[in-house]
Subunit: 339 residues, 2 copies
DNA sequence: CGCAAAACCCAAAACGTTTTAGCTTGTGCG
DNA sequence: CGCACAAGCTAAAACGTTTTGGGTTTTGCG
């Protein structure tokens, strides 16, 4: 019942352990004949190298961790889900295993983010949904360990990141709204991420540079959830009933906002335009279908794995990449209603 | 720059490696004095045992794999997401790491499901979203390795599972519809899972045993997605415009169905009732809010981890558990319209 | 044929733990 | 006082690989 080990293969083939190991690692120093012999035996016994022995000896685990934020039911969040899908599929293709981690209190206080790397449990970290308050990231950045901030960044800091272009997103969104005659806008977006802050600033800038006073842009902080969107929309609308459009920081908030308006008997898009961001799958199936800025989260996941690998291979010191975005027009946006 | 190892701790404390190891594993054979001394040194150096050395020596990894089905963007599926959340949080609490796996072609053909266990890469498998066609499961079941089918089962087979009560779900749903006067029902549910088949059979049975002929229940196969729901609703409605209710196999299908009806100008619930199953978060924020049978997926995740542990500890040979469900009435269901 | 260089393979150390049999002490009891 | 036994600790084997310096064989060439 004992597992077949490299030793069994070596014995059967009449070669040394090292030879088998070298074959398994595609080392060119082994002759084709020996290689074949070994591979056959491997096939025959369905031999699988023990990962732990391998990792122990080679000081590398060929795994990476996905670090998600500490939110309720976070894996049910499609924003993270789409990124994780990209990460998983790309990592697997490249022979890497994916571990799950959550950046909760314990993760931070026990410095698990360093320990995972120090113990070589994983070769690198892909950090999702971090916030401006995650100070531990700076400690991580000060080490030599490979990590990447996924769809977040800290302007001016030397940190690895892969992110959608939030500045371009702001421009596109503002243009779309301007072209449709919207002058009084409600901005529904949190303040816990630099991406959101960048978006807000550049959205404002786009409006003011079109000659529209920034007093026309009303802004509400809030969680990036349906609930947050619902409440934010209510807060904004009760104070500014002359709004003709809501621009939300993500699709979930937009969907929450639409829900508020529907409840109130306010029609989207006839009475008010609602625009989201990300283009998660739910956007298409929202009612009405949501106009949004597509961020291709799946692709961001893939690119992040790619970036991590360049760090593994020491092909780069710093990975900083901004990915293109585009407007997806569906049913929830239209011309501003007449006052 | 070398990591501190058990050796360093041993040297500093003037004890042997074994002693340190025993302390770390809470072995009672070590005196309190020595224990304290060692623990202090461990604290001081922020010593972390190397997981791989540990796993290699102890033949156990304290990790488990979540196996999700091979679907596009599967991690963005909130059904799986809620279960994974439960699994992750409960596993972490118990000191287990969580690895991600997808049951794709390669996973099956290369017998990865056995290899993971054989190489002790993980101690057990939690298999989500399996289908009646997943024959590899029977091979797995024939081994001694710990695994659990999550929210799925094979009636009559000796296999470990934890699942919501689909039979009770069928009864509850049927009752709700019967009480609201619905006589012509469209059943929107796949045939790829035994849970779905059980649901369908018992739903039919509940109706026929109320004296309603089974010709009043119209049924459409389909994928468990919004798209599947949309198309299924269309298919059913075009053939049977006298339907007054749609019962969907999950919330996503229900949401897809609602979308179809809204597009068609058919009002939910005034013209037609739509009921989902699972109660994922999107159900609450659907438009209108979806009436559904709550399966508490998060809890199913927790219970699955629990079950796996009883297998690890050999406290049970077989884990088979059915969890309670309940009706959540929201806005999408109501009395049948008058003919 | 002889020799240097190239090709191929191996031995052994290293990776950092767990685990168990057994070795010292110390203790209690007759 | 001597002995049995327990308590506390240790030595050493085991876990299954990778890696590298060096040894042996083969090849090519003069």
């Amino acid at each position: 019942m004992a597992r077949t080990t490299i030793k069994d293969i070596a014995r059967e083939c009449g070669v040394s352990l090292s030879t088998v190991s070298l074959v398994l690692n595609n080392n060119p120093r082994i002759s084709e004949a020996t290689r074949q012999k070994v591979l056959e035996s491997v096939q025959k016994h369905e031999y699988q190298p023990n990962t732990f022995a391998r990792s122990l000896a080679s000081q590398s685990s060929r795994s990476l961790s996905v670090v998600v934020p500490h939110l309720n039911n976070v894996f049910a969040d499609t924003y993270f889900g789409e990124i994780v899908s990209g990460i998983y599929e790309h990592a697997t293709k490249l022979g890497y295993k994916v571990l799950l981690e959550m950046a909760n209190q314990k993760f931070v206080s026990s410095k698990e983010y360093i320990n995972l790397l120090k113990t070589r449990r994983v070769d690198g970290l892909l950090i999702l949904g971090s916030s401006v308050h995650d100070d531990y990231l700076h400690e991580l950045a000060a080490t030599e360990y490979p990590y990447i901030l996924v769809n977040h960044y800290f302007p001016g800091r030397i940190m690895n990141f892969i992110s959608a272009d939030y500045i371009e997103s702001a421009r596109i969104a503002a243009n779309h709204l301007l072209q449709n005659g919207h002058r009084e806008i409600g901005l529904l977006i949190g303040t816990t991420t630099n991406t959101a802050l960048d978006f807000r600033d550049h959205f404002l800038r786009a409006y003011t540079s079109s000659g529209i006073p920034d007093t026309s842009i009303h802004w509400s902080d809030g969680w990036f959830t349906e609930q947050g969107g619902y409440e934010g929309a209510q807060w904004l609308y009760e104070r500014h009933p002359n709004l003709t459009a809501i621009m939300a920081g993500n699709d979930k908030m937009a969907i929450g906002a639409m829900r508020y308006f529907t409840r109130k008997g306010i029609k989207v898009p006839e009475d008010i335009t609602v625009i989201g961001m990300d283009d998660v799958q739910a956007a298409e199936f929202a009612n009405p279908a949501l106009t949004t800025i597509r961020h291709n989260l799946y692709d961001i996941g893939c690119k992040s794995v790619e970036g991590l690998l360049t760090l593994f291979r020491k092909e780069a010191q710093l990975v900083q990449q901004t990915l293109p975005v585009k407007l997806i027009e569906r049913e929830s946006s239209g011309p501003a209603r007449k006052a």
